[in-house]
């Protein structure tokens, strides 16, 4: 959508920007909650150990850590009974293959139980915030309200078939409800896991060139943003360079992708507008082609993307909500770990998980301000939601970026006489999961696994911790070999 608007230099009405922003923020909040509790936490939390916990001690621990009202003894006990009944049924389903009792699992039964309790509660809150997406986007997943030039939601406070006061206040109510959970549960739980696994601040750093997109545009042209973004080379926040607008050449001119090690025909390094995608599968070839993923670079180098990159960029840009929640997170970790933990600890496996929660809390503040901005704009009498596009003859090129839950997403389009001539998507997991590039430099996943501990090669849980910390949007295979190159085990991380 944004790539076409960029190609046409089409402005997007402010209402449409704000409606899109609300959907992006609500969707990302759901995504971050689900990633931590349902796709990553069980790498760190032992559910079987949780069954042995004292429910009262667990509730006390929860109440000590947070003012959250959902940590009562009765609530914790109900969750534990539910899990006991499930395990007692003998049908363990998706949990049967877990790494319970693994030597790398270190939390006490009570901490495990508190996390398991929140695992169940989190399902409810991710559903609630998704309702914001559904109200505006018609349904979720796969929203159906965005259009080139705006959104398809008519605003009419005096109609029963449009975005009206009832719908707007439903959205507000949901934002507040879920914000409470994010601030008082998610932020606290990730800080606790980080504190109890403090040694993991030394693991999984990988690539420290960070790239993220500015997002939540606050004008019709995309020149001011509620959330800053940009580039940090070599992990040095003082070298932060912002991406300033939808037309900033700094981003547009510095993205390339290589297919030297990817299953596509050829061996090139190209700007997305010049690329093609012609599959040529060879099976796994260690020193040649070994992945369906292309290998993107920014200024010729691999870059890490995702909430960590975004949080570091926003922090470097002096973004107040980011500073507030990052400080709160680091202070909580320091208190629980009994040692001062600074922002440098974020360059790690556990740092990526912590940064995701910081970003989720920042999104809560942002959702509130976006909602207020929408109400304020409607109050001014502006009900415009759409600018119709016109497609001139000739060739237009465009690109659009978005700070998606897993990091910067960019789409690149070439339009010729009103038809798509080329379209390339450079997606977040491509940046992180890409194979070695044309210079044979490894991407973030590969680099982050160097030095990663593995206690039991048959059950390499620690490898999953690092790969899952990126929140992969795809299944990838990690092959564990011994020194004689005999494959011990293949791990599929999803």
């Amino acid at each position: 959508m944004r790539s076409v608007e960029n190609a046409l230099q089409l402005e997007v009405p402010l209402n449409a920007q704000l409606i899109r922003n609300l959907m992006m923020g609500a969707h990302a909040t759901h995504d971050h909650i689900v990633h931590f509790y349902h796709l990553a936490a069980l790498d760190w939390v032992d559910i079987v150990s949780a069954l042995k916990a004292d429910a009262r001690a667990t509730a006390n621990l929860g109440q000590k850590l947070s003012p959250w009202t959902g940590n009562s003894y009765d609530a914790v006990k109900a969750s534990q009974d539910r899990l006991k009944t499930f395990v007692g049924s003998g049908q363990l389903g998706i949990y049967g293959s877990g790494y319970w009792g693994h030597p790398a699992m270190k939390l006490s039964p009570e901490v495990n139980m508190l996390a398991a309790h929140h695992y169940l509660q989190a399902l409810e809150y991710q559903r609630e915030i998704n309702k914001v997406v559904a109200i505006l986007g018609s349904k979720t997943p796969h929203i159906q309200n965005v259009a080139v030039g705006g959104v398809a939601n008519p605003i009419n406070l005096d109609s029963q078939s449009t975005l009206n006061m009832e719908r707007l206040y439903y959205i507000k109510t949901l934002i507040d409800k879920v914000g409470d959970f994010v601030e008082n549960v998610l932020l606290v739980d990730t800080a606790a896991v980080a504190a109890f696994y403090a040694d993991w601040t030394q693991v999984g750093k990988g690539i420290t060139n960070y790239l993220s997109a500015p997002d939540m545009p606050m004008d019709t042209k995309g020149t001011t943003f509620a959330l800053p973004g940009g580039y940090i080379p070599d992990g040095d926040v003082t070298k932060f360079q912002p991406i300033k607008s939808y037309n900033d050449a700094f981003f547009k001119d510095n993205v390339k992708e290589s297919i030297k090690h990817s299953w596509y025909d050829g061996d090139w390094d190209r700007h997305p507008w010049e690329e093609d995608t012609v599959p040529k599968y060879t099976d796994f070839q260690d020193d040649k082609k070994y992945s369906w993923v292309k290998s993107p670079t920014f200024k010729g180098k691999p870059a890490q993307v995702g909430p960590l990159a975004n949080v570091l960029c926003m922090f470097a840009a002096g973004h107040e909500p980011t500073k507030k929640y990052a400080t709160r997170m680091l202070d909580t970790i320091s208190t629980l770990a009994g040692a001062k933990v600074g922002i440098g600890a974020l360059h790690s496996t556990i740092g990526r998980i912590g940064a995701r929660s910081i970003r989720c809390a920042v999104l809560y503040d942002t959702l509130k301000s976006q909602w207020a901005a929408l109400i304020e704009n409607i109050a001014k009498g502006d009900v415009k939601t759409f600018n119709p596009p016109t497609f001139p003859s000739g060739v237009q090129r465009g690109y659009g970026f978005h700070e998606a839950p897993r990091g910067i997403l960019s789409h690149w389009i070439v339009i010729e006489n009103g038809k798509i001539k080329n379209y390339q998507a450079v997606v977040p997991s491509t940046w992180n999961a890409g194979p070695r590039n044309s210079q044979d430099a490894p991407g973030p996943y590969e680099a982050s696994l160097v030095g990663n501990p593995v206690k039991d090669p048959e059950r390499p849980l620690e490898v999953l911790r690092t790969v899952h910390s990126f929140d992969p949007c795809l299944a990838c295979a990690i092959h564990v070999f011994d020194r004689n190159r005999n494959e011990i085990v293949k791990v599929k991380a999803v």
Partner: protein
């Protein structure tokens, strides 16, 4: 506790509901599926049996949207479903174990529940070049589908991709993306297949199908495309809250125009409701109340459930209505035009009204192919 959870219907609670609420839930479900009220008790019995029915889920060329849709379901919720109603044995995204541990669990479950499990498939099956475009643990998903479907009691294809090919099958279909039922037919696998198309489908269409099967040990009534009639038995157009505007000739011509802001019909914006079979306007999405579906918020339906429409016909190309029943007595919003019926006029107006954006340029072609199929497929 165990007895309470899985014991007879005489206990105080069943599956965490009070007995009364549980029966109410099952009755609501039964009515939702067009069954007699008494069927509710049968549903309740089936889901409280000693062993939870096993389900294995195979993901092919997919985006995980179908799984995500279940994360959003409220009745029952995902946790209720997998902790208390079924036993989800294998699912790549939700499985806690990975790699070797995941594959071992899959083969163990297939052996343990041979002939008894439901196989759910999301994503299309790439068949070109012997299926190398999607592999799991070194095997093509094409071979995994055959292996897993052979020993299944039934296959449920969730989403348009596994039902009819979906977005990966769009021209030029570089991977030979095919629906599950076609691959199974070609390989001689006789296991029955139900299709639940949609992108993603409404989770309640999937959940109700699975719970129907678990309860009655048979599949719900299907149409000629193996879709459950309770969900796909009628055109969207037949249940649309904007239908009166269509019949009266009141149309939105552009997003945000006065007619759009009054909630008029979206036919001229390319709405595919008149040729798409689905229950979107009555089931709605995500339990957020009225208007929570594409047409309800103001966006034309693009026919995501319908083969040959979704991902095939441009967004703003006018629909080819399956059957028209234009009322001749209604007045028009634009008086002073030729005295033909509004329905026919709506059709003709599609030529002029739909030219929005690049896609609109190609829009005119759709009308020439108006489907003559006027036979009522609805119930």
């Amino acid at each position: 506790m165990k007895d309470l959870e899985y014991g007879s219907m005489n206990e105080e609670t069943v599956c965490g509901f009070s007995r009364r609420d549980f029966l109410k839930f099952c009755s609501t479900l039964a009515v939702g599926m067009g069954l007699p009220l008494s069927a509710g008790a049968k549903i309740a019995e089936a889901v409280t049996a000693q062993k939870r029915p096993p389900v294995l889920w195979l993901s092919a060329q997919e985006c995980t949207g179908c799984t995500e849709s279940l994360l959003r379901a409220n009745h029952p919720t995902l946790e209720k479903l997998i902790l208390e109603l079924i036993s989800l044995e294998y699912h790549e995204t939700l499985l806690v174990g990975s790699g070797k541990q995941a594959e071992e669990w899959r083969t163990k479950s297939m052996k343990e529940y041979k002939g008894k499990y439901i196989l759910v498939v999301d994503g299309s099956i790439p068949v070109k070049d012997n299926g190398i475009y999607c592999k799991i643990g070194g095997k093509t998903v094409m071979s995994l589908l055959v292996e897993m479907a052979t020993d299944a009691a039934a296959v449920v294809a969730i989403g348009s991709c596994s039902s009819w090919g979906g977005v990966p099958s769009a021209d030029p279909n570089p991977t030979g993306a095919s629906p599950a039922h076609e691959v199974l037919k070609n390989k001689g696998v006789k296991t029955p297949v139900v299709n639940i198309p949609g992108c993603p489908p409404n989770p309640y269409n999937f959940l109700s199908t699975v719970l129907y099967y678990v309860t009655f040990k048979k599949l719900p009534e299907l149409d000629d495309q193996a879709r459950p009639k309770f969900a796909y038995g009628r055109l969207i157009h037949e249940n649309c809250e904007r239908r009166p505007h269509f019949d009266a000739g009141r149309f939105a011509l552009q997003f945000g125009d006065e007619e759009h802001r009054k909630g008029y019909c979206l036919y001229k914006l390319g709405c595919k409701g008149p040729e798409t079979f689905a229950n979107c306007p009555v089931q709605l999405f995500n339990d957020v109340g009225s208007g929570a579906w594409p047409v309800g918020t103001g966006h034309p339906c693009f026919g995501c459930t319908e083969k040959g429409v979704g991902f095939t016909v441009p967004l703003h190309t006018p629909a080819r209505p399956k059957y028209l029943t234009p009322p001749s007595l209604f007045t028009e919003v634009y008086p002073g035009k030729e005295g033909i019926s509004p329905g026919v006029k709506a059709l003709a107006a599609g030529f002029a009204g739909a030219a929005i954006g690049a896609a609109g340029a190609a829009a005119v072609t759709g009308l020439g192919k108006k489907d003559d199929d006027t036979k009522d497929k609805g119930e």
